[in-house]
């Protein structure tokens, strides 16, 4: 072992402070994930059983995961991107294959997810499906005499100043569907331009483009808005807990769906804690753990059946594969992603 001089100690301290810790030490697992995916309510037991220490860094958007990976994400072992960016992450070489023979309940995952092209390359899997849900819409019960059933409510002048919309390229998807363009993941330049026009017309009606889960909750609780899109199951529960009645709905124009999966950062398959952690997350412990914390549907309906009450099982649409099939599941946009994001920025910069 090298001798430690005071100078070396000082330099190490400076560099660790400036550039962060080196990759996880033995028995440690470092996650870059969403809030709730490593909640103490089910992680604590895992840590006690395995002796692996789990530390999580939370992100606010999928793009933040990519940005952190691109800036040198070797400090993390596992990430949980949504299905629209898994393909990009694979092609950028940030992750390594998942050995599905080491995932005990792999066969129990919804076939729709196992067949997804976005999580495979050259015959190998690069992600383990974990949770899913809809980008549903939501309204405040006491604000509408006739419950809205269509996206038209978000573009209706009668709701001026009471509308919130997710500050994300998803806004383009919403406007395109409202315009009647259902091919939301393969929009042409003309269709994107039309969506931009629609959103610019809508803008004076919008109270706020929301960006975090907590913010949308505040908007409803503070009486700022009556209708918005939402991460189904998550914010509505938090709002209900504040005593405000809201209803989620899938509009006539349909809704987007998303699926989050665990991916192994390049070089972390050797971490002895990686596969035990993945197996725990796909078991009853992890699946019901996350469903109870975040209100999301889960990827393993067999585990869900075992650990959920009948009401929860139905509420999360785990009993109804048709619900999942009907959603417009997020697709990778490839080199069109910039076009979508810039179109959305151009709406906000008008």
């Amino acid at each position: 072992m090298a001798k430690t001089t005071p100078l070396k100690t000082i330099l190490t301290t400076i560099f660790v402070a400036a550039f962060g810790m080196p990759a996880s030490a033995e028995g440690e697992l470092s996650l870059l994930t969403w809030e709730g995916y490593a909640d103490d309510s089910f992680i604590a037991a895992f840590e006690a059983e395995t002796g692996c220490r789990v530390s999580a860094t939370y992100v606010g958007s999928g793009e933040e995961i990519i940005a952190k990976m691109a800036a040198g994400g070797g400090v993390y072992d596992l990430i949980t991107p949504a299905s629209d960016i898994t393909r990009l992450i694979i092609e950028a070489g940030f992750v390594e294959p998942v050995d599905i023979s080491r995932i005990e309940q792999w066969e129990n995952i919804y076939p729709q997810f196992r067949e997804l092209d976005n999580i495979q390359m050259d015959g190998e899997y690069y992600a383990m499906p974990y949770t899913w849900g809809a980008i549903a819409f939501m309204y405040r019960n006491d604000a509408f005499e006739t419950p809205p059933t269509s996206l038209a409510a978000l573009f209706d002048p009668r709701n001026e100043g009471r509308i919130a919309l997710w500050d994300d390229k998803s806004a383009i998807y919403v406007a395109a569907r409202y315009n009647g363009d259902t091919n939301i993941y393969t929009l042409s330049d003309e269709q994107i331009a039309a969506a931009v026009e629609t959103l610019i017309e809508q803008r004076p009606l919008v109270r706020r483009y929301w960006s975090t889960a907590g913010e949308l909750v505040d908007l409803y609780v503070g009486g700022e808005v009556d209708i918005s899109n939402t991460w189904a199951g998550y914010q509505s529960a938090l709002i209900a807990a504040e005593g405000i009645e809201v209803t989620e709905f899938i509009p006539e124009e349909n809704a987007e769906g998303w699926m989050d999966s665990w991916m192994i950062v390049d070089g972390s398959a050797d971490n002895a804690c990686t596969y035990p952690f993945l197996n725990m997350q796909l078991s009853e412990q992890g699946q019901c753990g996350v469903a109870n914390v975040n209100g999301y549907s889960v990827a393993n309906p067999v585990a869900a059946r075992n650990c959920m009450t009948e009401e929860q099982f139905v509420a999360l649409h785990q009993d109804d594969p048709a619900y999942l099939d009907a959603l417009l599941m997020w697709q990778p946009l490839g080199d069109r992603m910039g076009a979508y994001v810039n179109a959305w920025n151009s709406v906000k910069s008008q």
Binding site: A70, K169, M337, G338, S346
Partner: protein
């Protein structure tokens, strides 16, 4: 080793560290930023190149100029508002307030919020300006309005209020310092020469305090110009600022080259303003 050699090593260390710091944490990052701005976006990430496409995009797509224009507008409004509030306040503290203790208390009253987290202060304005916030409840309690107004929050006005509140210490401090340096006997001399206190204020005090005003204005303006938290927390659908677009290029759009080009443009604007204000300050400088 001779004493002199040791001395030289000590001196080298003394000067070397700050230089190393500047090179490592300022010049190198700026260089990296400039380099990235010539790279090219190429799925999945980006590739090294030397081309001006990113800068051309900034010129050709109206969204970038319009956002820069909006950011300049908000920065000017905030700086002017802060000046109009800060100058009379600093003047009152320095020239009218006789009690030194009260003067100190009031001065620290303005500076103290700097010790509170910027985010927390910006967040607080949400609770004040909201539809069910403190401002609306007060106005309704006083019977001035019957329905809560929603114009206070999620608007450019909310951003101006928040930014003015947050950056006003940077206006007060240099003006206070400039006013304090003005010798009192100049006032008396002006009065002896038969000038009214109004004339004295405009022809003696104001010109002598100009360097402080310029410094305060520059600081406030540059801080505002680069801000993205106000738009994020209290801005409305029309609140996007340049820094927010840069964030989005480094995140959602995954176009670091374009984001870098925008950051370089921003840096140039800020440097231009600083050198302008520096030149102005040199010209207005007075030796006592």
């Amino acid at each position: 080793m001779t004493l002199r050699a040791l001395d030289r090593i000590g001196m080298g260390f003394f000067l070397g560290l700050p230089i190393l710091w500047i090179v490592l944490f300022m010049l190198v990052p700026y260089g990296v930023l400039l380099t990235y701005s010539f790279w090219i976006k190429s799925y999945p990430l980006f590739e090294p190149a030397f081309q001006f496409g990113n800068y051309l995009t900034l010129l050709n797509e109206p969204q970038y100029l319009s956002v820069i224009g909006r950011t300049l507008k908000i920065a000017v409004i905030v700086s002017v508002t802060a000046l109009v509030l800060a100058y009379p306040f600093a003047y009152f503290l320095v020239f009218r307030l006789k009690n030194v203790t009260i003067r100190k208390v009031l001065f620290f009253g303005v500076i103290a919020p700097l010790w509170v987290s910027y985010l927390l202060r910006a967040y607080l304005w949400k609770t004040i300006l909201g539809t069910q916030g403190v401002l609306n409840s007060t106005l309704m309690g006083l019977g001035i309005i019957s329905e809560p107004l929603d114009i206070f929050l999620y608007s450019q006005a909310a951003m101006v209020i928040t930014l003015t509140y947050i950056f006003i210490p940077f206006m007060v401090m240099p003006i206070y310092a400039a006013l304090e340096k003005i010798p009192r006997n100049l006032d008396e001399a002006s009065a002896d020469l038969g000038q009214s206190s109004w004339t004295t204020f405009w022809r003696v005090t104001v010109p002598l305090s100009l360097p402080g005003v310029v410094a305060g204005f520059t600081l406030t303006f540059c801080l505002c110009f680069g801000d993205f938290v106000a738009a994020f927390l209290v801005g409305g659908p029309d609140g996007l600022m340049v820094a927010n677009v840069i964030t989005s290029q480094f995140g959602a759009a995954l176009n670091w080259p374009l984001g870098s080009a925008l950051a370089v443009v921003m840096l140039v604007v800020v440097l231009a303003i600083i050198s302008l204000s520096d030149r102005f300050e040199q010209r207005t400088k007075v030796q006592f």
